[in-house]
Amino acid sequence: MALSRRLLPLFLRRGAPVPARALSTAAAPAAVASEDDEEAITVKGVRISGRPLYMDMQATTPVDPRVLDAMLPFYLSRYGNPHSRTHLYGWESDAAVEDARARVASLVGADPREIFFTSGATECNNIAVKGVMRFYRERRRHVITTQTEHKCVLDSCRYLQQEGFDVTYLPVRKDGLVDLAQLEDAIRPDTGLVSVMAVNNEIGVIQPLEEIGRICKEKGVPFHTDAAQALGKIPIDVNRMGIGLMSLSGHKIYGPKGVGALYLRRRPRIRVEPQMNGGGQERGIRAGTVPTPLVVGFGAACEIAAQEMDYDHRRVSALQQRLLDGMRAQVDDIVINGSMEHRYPGNLNLSFAYVEGESLLMGLKEVAVSSGSACTSASLEPSYVLRALGVEEDMAHTSIRFGIGRFTTEEEVDRAIELTVHQVKKLRDMSPLYEMAKAGIDLKSIEWSQH
């Protein structure tokens, strides 16, 4: 009995049995420094006690264990090339790919023959923008897009401009939504594509897809939408929304990285010029061996998203409200970037007045969040999305994007609030601008002396 009492704490220890890391041949992470405190991580001169809590769901999402479970057999024993026609390995791989294709299609209301697997949403955007315009280059010379699109769409449009096409970059309103009247006016007889993203990755604003689809259908222009952030989070129906082309990404819906899918409407048929030439896989739209494990993972993620969409949406909305209320209760002068009504709740982009963004982020090392200018990583200029919203430079610099997802817990939200509020208060105490603002001085009326 005495023996068992001593051993009892061992058995009651929380968490998993001792990890058998010795069996793993994966490289040890380079960041771990072996100091006296076994669990501390030292990276870039900063010492953190444990892995930060993850609140950057728009950058990427963790892989759902159910997705991993679906993928593993295809790395272990079912490793065939889906295009091999002569043996079991090829047949079972092909069956798995077609099964995944059907799952992706059913999540967006499409036919499986309209789904083409690619390496990600960036590749899909390239195929959609450049492929469509080049195919119809004789008759269509104009593209319409918005100023808040993802970099890959804007870059592809710039590339087309160099080839001699015309591009209209529509401005957005203060709340991030595109003006439908402006869009309708911008459409010309030779417009070949309208590209508006469904949910913005930086501010989380949902564009009015149905209205845009209706306008495009009336004018006979294909409508492309980058739905990487929207898939599995808001209900998408390609027929109801009049979508002609759509870019989908795997690693934003708890699937693996490195896979995406392009939706290409069959009726009326939209043709594209392929950007990757080769063995004619994926009906010639995208050549190259289809990566079976990734595609199976993507299909599983889509199926799970279809089942869990309501539950996740309710939960994430509640968590967003909790985050917002918690912040507002303790600090004032917080601005939400982007419309609150037309927003996907898992994306909250906040600007804290009188606080410098970089120093705020440096203090938030235990929370993994992203700043407004994350996409323009190396440069110090504020994000072009916030600039398009008309956010002023100082507020744009201080913006933080909180991403809430399926695996976020209430305790994590509370801890994020606590850490952010603590850091904001600390910085504001040090800030002379905050003192002046509190004293009632209008900061814009100050004339700074030149030295």
Binding site: S4, F11, A16, R21, L53, P65, L68, T409
Partner: protein, 103 residues
């Protein structure tokens, strides 16, 4: 300790012979598996989702829906058991800040 050993000895779920499968898969079994995940977020999610699904499915009246929900719960349990092992094999050395003592 003897109770612990008795629980650990069960590999299969042994239902009493006259039990008809109700809609909800038994919660204690699901929660026990959820506890084995080494990752904080997955553990909390599995626990929460199992509890919520149990509450939803418990009220299922008609037999086919109930049987389907039970089968689904069983399949999810199998997935969770396998993945708990996989996650523990590759668990990072440092735990999440949420699991460490509050400073």
């Amino acid at each position: 300790m003897w109770m612990y050993l008795r629980c650990r000895g069960h590999n299969e779920l042994k239902l009493p012979k006259d039990a008809s499968p109700v809609g909800a898969f038994p919660l204690p079994v699901l929660l026990r598996t959820a506890k084995q995940f080494s990752d904080y977020n997955i553990r909390e999610y599995t626990r929460r989702r199992a509890a919520d699904a149990f509450r939803e499915n418990r009220a299922l009246a008609d037999a086919p829906a109930a049987a389907a929900a039970f089968a689904k719960g069983k399949q999810r349990l199998e997935v969770a058991k396998r993945q708990a092992v996989v996650y523990s094999l590759y668990a990072p050395k440092a735990k999440s800040v949420m699991e460490l003592k509050v400073q």
